[in-house]
Subunit: 240 residues, 6 copies
Amino acid sequence: MHVLVVNCNTSPEITEVIRAGAVTAASQDTEIVAIQPAWGPESAEGFYESYVTAAAVLDAVRTHDGPFDAVVMAGYGEHGREGMRQVLDVPVVDITEASAQLACLVSYRFGVATTAVTAVAGIEESLRGAGSWSRCAGVLATRVPVSAIHQDNELALQALGETGRALLDRGADSIVLGCAGFAGLDRGLEELLGVPVLDGVACAVAVAEALVRLGKVTSKRGPFRAPSATKKWIGWPRTV
Amino acid sequence: MHVLVVNCNTSPEITEVIRAGAVTAASQDTEIVAIQPAWGPESAEGFYESYVTAAAVLDAVRTHDGPFDAVVMAGYGEHGREGMRQVLDVPVVDITEASAQLACLVSYRFGVATTAVTAVAGIEESLRGAGSWSRCAGVLATRVPVSAIHQDNELALQALGETGRALLDRGADSIVLGCAGFAGLDRGLEELLGVPVLDGVACAVAVAEALVRLGKVTSKRGPFRAPSATKKWIGWPRTV
Amino acid sequence: MHVLVVNCNTSPEITEVIRAGAVTAASQDTEIVAIQPAWGPESAEGFYESYVTAAAVLDAVRTHDGPFDAVVMAGYGEHGREGMRQVLDVPVVDITEASAQLACLVSYRFGVATTAVTAVAGIEESLRGAGSWSRCAGVLATRVPVSAIHQDNELALQALGETGRALLDRGADSIVLGCAGFAGLDRGLEELLGVPVLDGVACAVAVAEALVRLGKVTSKRGPFRAPSATKKWIGWPRTV
Amino acid sequence: MHVLVVNCNTSPEITEVIRAGAVTAASQDTEIVAIQPAWGPESAEGFYESYVTAAAVLDAVRTHDGPFDAVVMAGYGEHGREGMRQVLDVPVVDITEASAQLACLVSYRFGVATTAVTAVAGIEESLRGAGSWSRCAGVLATRVPVSAIHQDNELALQALGETGRALLDRGADSIVLGCAGFAGLDRGLEELLGVPVLDGVACAVAVAEALVRLGKVTSKRGPFRAPSATKKWIGWPRTV
Amino acid sequence: MHVLVVNCNTSPEITEVIRAGAVTAASQDTEIVAIQPAWGPESAEGFYESYVTAAAVLDAVRTHDGPFDAVVMAGYGEHGREGMRQVLDVPVVDITEASAQLACLVSYRFGVATTAVTAVAGIEESLRGAGSWSRCAGVLATRVPVSAIHQDNELALQALGETGRALLDRGADSIVLGCAGFAGLDRGLEELLGVPVLDGVACAVAVAEALVRLGKVTSKRGPFRAPSATKKWIGWPRTV
Amino acid sequence: MHVLVVNCNTSPEITEVIRAGAVTAASQDTEIVAIQPAWGPESAEGFYESYVTAAAVLDAVRTHDGPFDAVVMAGYGEHGREGMRQVLDVPVVDITEASAQLACLVSYRFGVATTAVTAVAGIEESLRGAGSWSRCAGVLATRVPVSAIHQDNELALQALGETGRALLDRGADSIVLGCAGFAGLDRGLEELLGVPVLDGVACAVAVAEALVRLGKVTSKRGPFRAPSATKKWIGWPRTV
C-alpha cells in the first residue's frame, strides 16, 4: 500500500519530521511518500497562510506523479480537505479529523495544543466542520513557532507539557498534538501528563491504512463528486 | 493481537455473523474472540432492551477469561460504552462510533439504516453522545427484525437498498449499517447504491487494530477512571 | 394514590433517606412505597455503576408486586428512564428531569451540586437528553461520597454550601441537589445561600402527583411503545 | 391556596374558558382567580399583539388587588414571563413551559397544535427560551382563530385532530394544546389520537400547586431580582 | 430620506444623546427624527422594564405623525423589534442587530459592554434571536446606570475601558456598546482599546440608510405580515 | 471612496456583471473598481474550485495596484474572507455575509437560491461561519450554471422563481441570490415572488460604504492580525 503524506508548507525540515513520523506509524507493508507544495509559506499559522496552502497542497497532489492508495493531509487545522476529496477517489485523511476521532475513543474530551495563537480560530472551525467540536475541551497555543519545533524538541515538549496541563484543567482527559511538526512527540508528552496523547500524523496514517484495507473510497454522490472536466481554467495546475 | 468482540444480545447466530465479519476485516495476525452475554434478550431494538444489554455486556466482559488487547462493542446504538471504558485500560471501540467516524472521512454526510423503528431514538442519542450527529443525514428503519437478517440475507439487502435510497434522498452520500447483524452486507449494498457503505463491525475491528498498533490506551484521568475497588456490591458480577 | 419510589442503589440507608423525603413532599392521600434493587452497587457515582443500576432498577420494578400509579426514579443523573417508560403505562418521573424543570420555573439558570467528580459527565448527558441543558449553569462535585451524606448531614450541608456558591458565581440563580441521598437538605441550603434549592425526590413526587391527577399516562406511540412480548430472553427478570 | 390565572387578551369569553379549565385541574383546596388585562387585543396571534399583551398582563397583575400564592400566565407562547418573575416573589408558571415540561415526562417528543400561522414563530422562540425546544417535533397551526374556539368546540377538536396527526407524522408522540383557549379539549383529543394531550392551563395549575406545596419562590439573585424601586416612571401602572 | 429613531425610555436627555449620535452618523441628505415613548420607565435595565418599553415604543411609533422611510429602534437588547416589523412596511433596524452585524465584518468575535447586570440575560436572548450569538464572546456589565452616562462621559468611558478589556481577555477582538445611551463614545473607546468599537445607534442609522437606498422593505409573507385590521382592541393605541 | 470589488473567477463576463451591479448600488461619490484573479477556474461551483479561488483572490488583491477604502468579495459562499481580513486594514465585506445580514433585518428567515448542487454544502458552511445559519430556511440549487446566467437572464430569472418558491414553502420569507453572477436580478425576482430579494453584490457595496463612512477598520487584535512579515515564502505572490 502507498500512502501519500502531504505537508502543507514549503519547509523541507518539517516534511522530513512528518515523513519520519508517518513511517514509524505505518505497517511494514505500507510505503510512505512524503511531499510538500512547490509554493507557499514555510509554515501556516493563521487564516491567510492556511488558504494559500490549501491551494498549494491541491496543486501538489494534482501534479504528483506516482501511485497512491490514500492521501494524508498533514497540516493541522488547515483548509482544503473537502476540495481534495472532490478530485480524488482514494480516501483522504486529514490529521485534524483522524486524531480527534481516535481521541474520542480513548477519552471523554480531548484538548488541542497547537503552536501560534493565530492558528486557534482556524482549528476550531476545522473541528466544527469535522463534527468533533462537541467533544473538544479547548484549543490552546504553546506559542512555539512551527519552525522552532524540530530545532529544539525538548523546549517544544516542555511547552506542550504546560499547555497540556492547562487543557486538562479545562476538562480534557486526552491531548491532541495540534501541529504536524509535533509528529513523534506523543510518547514524551504521555510520560509527562499521564493521559493519552494523539499525534495527528500517526493517527491519520493508521486510519488511512484501515480505510484502504476495508476497501473504502470517497463518495462521488454528494459534494465530493468530481469537478467538471470541461470547465476552462487559467494557469492551473501550475509550476512555480 | 487479540480483539474481543462482544455481541450485545444472547443469540448465538448473530454472534456468529459478527464473528465472521470481524475475522474478515481483521489483519492476519489479529485473533478475534467473539462472545455474547449470558443473559438478556435475543436482540436489542429499543431503550428497555438496550439498557439491559448494557449491563449484560459489562457483565460478560468482566467475567471473561482470557487476554485481549482491545474490545469491540458490537451492538449498534446500544448503551454502555462509557461504562466499559471505565473498567478497562485497553481501547474500547463501539461499532456506532467507529463506523460514523470512517463514514465522515469518505463522505460528507452519512445516513444510518437500522432495523426496528423503536431503535431509532436510541441510535440518535448514541451518535449525539459520540459527537457525530452534525454529520448525520438521518436514521431510518428497514423494519427488518434483527433475528430475520441472517435467515434471509437477500431480503435484508433489498430492504437496506430501499432505506438507503431514502437516506440518499435526504442528503446522505454514504450509508452506515445500523445493526451488528448486518455485518458483511456492505459490499452488496455498495453495489446497489454506488456509495460507500460502512459496516460497523468491520470498521470497529480496523480502528481497534489501529489504536493497539499506536499503543493507545483509555484515559484514566476523566470520567473513565476506574470505579472504586472498595465499594460494596450485591450479586455482581453474576452468572445466570 | 400510590407512588413507587425506586432508589438506584442497594443501600437500605439511602433508600430510607429517599423514602422519608418522598413522604414529606407527598400529599396526605398519597402512599409512598420505596424500594431498591436486589443487586448492584451500594452507590452509583459514574458511568459503569450507572449502567448496572439502570438494569437493576428495571429489574426491581418489573418484579415488584403491588399497585402503583406512578414511578419516581430516585437516582440523580442515572441511566434508564427511557427504558422504564417503555415497560410501564403509568407516568415515570426521573428526579433529574423533575428538579431541572421546577428550577426553570423559579430561576433563570440552575446549577447542580452533586457528589463525586466521576458523576459529573453522566449528569450532563442526562440533562442534555432531558432537554434542560441550555438552562444549566454547570454541574460541580462536592466530593462528598454518597454513602457519607446520611452519616453527617452537617458536613454534607457545608460542602453543598461551598459548591453552591461556586455555581452561583458561574451564573446560577438556583441550586439543584444532584444526588437522591441529599433528600431533605434543600431547606438548610436555601437558608445558607438565599436562592431556591430543588430537591429531586421532593420535586419528582410532586410532579408525579400532578401527572396522576391530570390523568396523564406514558405515550405508547413513539420510542416508548412496549417491547415485544414474544422475544426470547435468558435469565431475565432475575432474582439474585 | 390561591392561584391567580391571567388571560393575556381582553376577551371575557376566553377568560371564562381558562377559568373553567383551571378550576377543573385544581385541587379542592385551591381557589382559582381568573383575570384579564384592562387593555389590549381580544386575542394574541403574532409578535405585535404578543408584545402589547405582555405589558398589559404585567399591568393587570401589578394592579390586581387580593392575595395569591402563584401566578399562571395563560397566554400560550406569549411574551412576558421573565418580566413577571422580576416583579413577584411567588412562583410564576407560564402555560407554555409547564405543558412542555409535563409532555417531556410522558413522551419522547411533543408537537404543538396552535391557532394562527402568525403565532408559530413566537411559540418556537418561547420554547427555545424555556429550554424545551430540543424535545419539540414541531409547531403547526390549526388555522382556527382564537375567538372561534369556544364558539364551536367540535370544529376546534376536528382541526386539532388533523393538525395533531400531522405532528405525529413528524415524530411527535404527544400533543400540546398551543392556545389557552383550547383549555378542556385535551380529553377529546386524546380519544381521537391515542396519545397524551397536554392542556397548558391544566398543566400550569398543577405545577403551580406543586411549587407552592414545596414552598418554592422565585430567585431574586439573578435576572429576576426586583426592579429598582426609585426609578422614575411615566403613566405606569395605568388604568384605561 | 427620513429616519425615525425611537428611544425606548422616557428620558429626554437620553433621547437627545441618541439624536445627536444619529445625526453624526447620518448622511447629509438624511433627516433624523428622534422620539421617545409617552409612558414607561426612564431607563430599561432588565426584563420587566424591557417588556413595558416594547409596548410603549410600539405605541409611540403607531401614534407618530409624520413621514419616515425607516425606523431605528434605539434600545439596546430590548424587546419588540419583531412586533414593529409586523406593523410597518419600511425597514426596522434594531441597534442590537445592526451593531452585531457590522462587528462581525470587522472582527472575529465581538464583546458587548452594557450598563446594568440585570440587562445581561435579555441582551443574550436578543442576540440569540438575531442569530449573532455564535460570534459573541460575552456580554458584561459596566455597572454604570443608564441615567449616569450622559452626566459624566469620562466616568462612563473609563468603565467601558475596564469592561472592554475584560471582554478582550475573553476572546473578543471588537467591542459593541451595549446601551443606546453610550452613543458617541465609540471613538474614545477605540483609542483606549485599539480595537473597533461599534456604536449601535450609528451602525443602525448607516444600515437603515443602506436598506432604504437599496429599496428594501419588510417581508409581509411570514411572521411579519400585518396584524388583522378587524380585531377588537381595548384602550390601544393610547395616550397617557 | 474607492471600493474594490473582486470577482472570484476568471470570467471577464461575470466580472462585468458584478461591476455593473456594484455601480448601480453604489452612492454617486463611490468609485467601483472591479477585478478578477489572474488564474483559476471560470466559475466556482464546489469545494475544490472554491479553495483555488480563495488563494487566487488573495493573490489578486495583494498584487492590485491602486488605492481602495474597502474590499467586496464577490464570490457567493466561497472561501477566503478571513484570510483577506488578515492582510488588509480596510473593511472586507463578503457578499455572503452582507446579504444574509440585510435579509435578517427585513424578514424572519431567508432562503438562498444558488446555481449548482455542488455549491450547496460550501454555502451552508460559509453561513455557519458567518453566524447567520440559524436564520436560514435552506439553500437550494437552481441548477443554472454560473456561466449561463448572463447569457440568458430570462431563463435565470425563471429558474430563480421556481427555486425561490420552494424556499418560501420551506419557511423563508425573503430570498438571497446565491451567486455573484445573479447581480441585478433582485428586482425581477421581487416582482415574481412578492418578498424582499437580496442581491449580494448590491448589499455588500452598501454595507462597505456604511463601514467606511463610520470609519471602521478591521481588528488586528485577534485572528485577523497581520501575518508575520519575516516568514519565508516560495513563489508567492505570483503572476501567471
